[in-house]
Symmetry: C2
Subunit: 383 residues, 2 copies
């Protein structure tokens, strides 16, 4: 298949590109490097340096003999994305090309506006470009479980049958997003549903949970094919951060009570899920929604699992309940349905001691590169 | 009260400004004249020319002795709206300042992107400006009934109690917006709900139906205090357009079957509703939603009512089912709840033969100004 990966420089975009290329698909990656710019702005770095995308694409060719195409540009520039679609004529478009940090989006007006205009307008331009140049292509769009918030009912996959005053209908699941970033994804979801209904485009909206993990079959092929591992308060996801804290002897920073409950999945399962979506496309006019997670834990449960795994390897680990920088419920019901990807064949790779051990060992091996100054949250949600 | 009217040059903004000023409130109007620019772009005009906002503000002073303040600027320029709020310190902000046309938003990529970035970013800047300079002010935001689409269940006012698998919660009512314009209002609604919850702002989101009518107590005070009356395919609302067609001997253009059912309200009731919201503010942290309509009719019912009223005054009226330029259900259930404004004291002024007669008479008196070339829809929703 001809697969376009938007946001191909990122934590998930780059492994996704290699994953498809390794299977013989024709892959083109696109990035505007906006995440690298934000890293500069906030003085943060991935745990190990990530070579330029040009360098990695060249290295991929050296190592595997396979070509990944590269175009540098910004979806907010519609001429760019129109020309990419016109020339590449993708069968599937995997769209990761959005500002991905909730804390960044809450830093202030400028960051909130950047997040929403970059994400929403970029995605709108993409929809118009698809309409014009490849209306039969399948859009696989990365959303987030944070679009739903924490309702007191089970979270269905995108749609819910509601019975009300003796009548019923299947309607989009109500959204209660948790930051200006999560809001941008809700806006995208609504725009995509509308484009599918009105223009008969086809899309899969993957409401992904918190991703953890370091490597995939392809990142392991060469040290410089690694993907960016973030543990900082801006881009670091909670499990990755806890593992770094455990290794460094920094107390695990649990935000508030830690009863916040979230879905998680391994980075390798992200690739599996995206591939299942790509290989089993939506039909014309359909906007499917999959909840992309494999397990559910509270923040306290995650902290205790990391503590237990780390202590078995001789690390001394403390938990620290710090003031919650976010406005969120710290104790709540949370039961997301996630069967659609399993029905397509997903074989989850669950968080086990072995996986945590592998992460802890890796972090230990590069511990002198950790910058502890970037771990504590400095961005507050409330006014 | 100190009342800021954003979008004070518009069909509803200008009458709202005069309505509050007449009662002794201190009123400041803001506009960037983007609707007038779009009129230029598309070669359309209101039925009668509308003097500049500067001229109308000066005339209002001449006629009534009362002052309405005026600031010209764009909400997308955050420095502008920050300075307005810092200086004026409003008690209430009535926010009409958005690109208001669904067909315009469907004209092409540029118009869709303009609509969403103008509306969403302008509203985001406003929320940040309120947070900084007047966090206790009450935002009265104009939404639209078109945010809901046409679900097969009753449309509640913004929130719905959902019982699901033995649990329940009150959640935002699911949205199925009908154009990129309606989508922009859905995005705003989500952003506003989040800001109220996270920053303890207070807001009322008025999901307004299709407004019709020509004048209010204040527009009648002087011919040049009139408000803009549109009957064209871009800004004209359906009843206003039907009345013009009836007078001009042009067949009433019913889109498709005409079973599309919509709420309507008189322009005077818009003023009543906005005033009820302003005088009875939301509490801190609350984002109320009111469905702002007084009656519900199908397009065919509206066409027949206009035909009947016009024929009683000697006009000869035909109905013409033209190809529907929109993608929408032409037969559907539609039952929006609208009791919250009534509970606050709304006394609806229902569409009667008398109201239609008044509109027909007015249009007849200026019939030589009608430009029939702007009535037929030229913008198609589908690809």
């Amino acid at each position: 298949m001809r697969i376009l990966i938007l946001g191909g420089d990122g934590y998930l975009g780059w492994p996704t590109a290699m994953h498809f290329s390794a299977q013989g698909d024709e892959v083109l990656v696109v990035d505007n490097f906006c995440k690298r710019r934000i890293e500069m702005e906030d003085g943060i770095e991935p745990l190990e340096p990530i070579p330029t995308l040009h360098r990695r694409v060249a290295l991929w060719k050296e190592v595997t003999g396979k070509e990944i195409g590269l175009r540098v540009g910004d979806l907010v520039n519609h001429r760019f994305i129109y020309s990419v679609l016109e020339e590449f004529q993708p069968d599937a478009i995997v769209h990761y090309a959005e500002q991905p940090s909730a804390p960044y989006s809450m830093q202030g007006r400028e960051q909130a506006v950047f997040t929403q205009s970059n994400n929403v307008i970029g995605n709108l331009n993409l929809l118009f470009a698809m309409k014009k140049h490849c209306p039969d292509a399948h859009l696989v769009k990365l959303g987030t479980m944070g679009e739903y918030g924490t309702p007191n009912i089970d979270i269905e996959e995108g749609y819910i049958e509601i019975e009300h005053k003796g009548r019923k209908d299947v309607l989009p699941f109500p959204k209660q997003p948790m930051s200006f970033y999560h809001l941008s994804k809700v806006h995208d979801s609504h725009n995509i549903m509308f484009a599918c209904k009105t223009w008969k485009l086809r899309a899969t909206d993957l409401n992904q949970a918190v991703v953890y993990g370091i490597d995939t079959d392809q990142t392991r092929l060469h040290p410089e094919l690694r993907t960016s591992f973030h543990y900082d308060a801006v881009f670091g996801t909670v499990l990755n951060r806890f593992c770094v804290q455990a290794v460094m002897g920094i107390p695990l920073t649990v935000y508030g009570k830690g009863g916040q409950t979230r879905g998680i999945l391994n980075i390798r399962d992200t690739l599996q899920c995206v591939e299942l979506a790509v290989r089993n496309p939506a039909v014309a006019g359909e906007c499917r929604v999959f909840n992309q997670l494999t397990e559910v834990f509270s923040i306290m449960e995650m902290a205790r699992m990391v503590k237990d795994a780390a202590e078995q390897h001789g690390f001394k680990v403390q938990l620290d309940h710090i003031t919650n920088p976010r406005v969120e419920k710290e104790e709540h019901y949370f039961n997301p349905v996630h069967t659609k990807l399993v029905d397509l064949g997903l074989k989850p790779r669950l968080l086990s001691e072995e996986l945590l051990e592998h992460m802890l060992q890796y972090i230990q091996s590069v511990r002198d590169k950790v910058n502890p100054a970037t771990i504590m949250p400095t961005i507050s949600w409330s006014r």
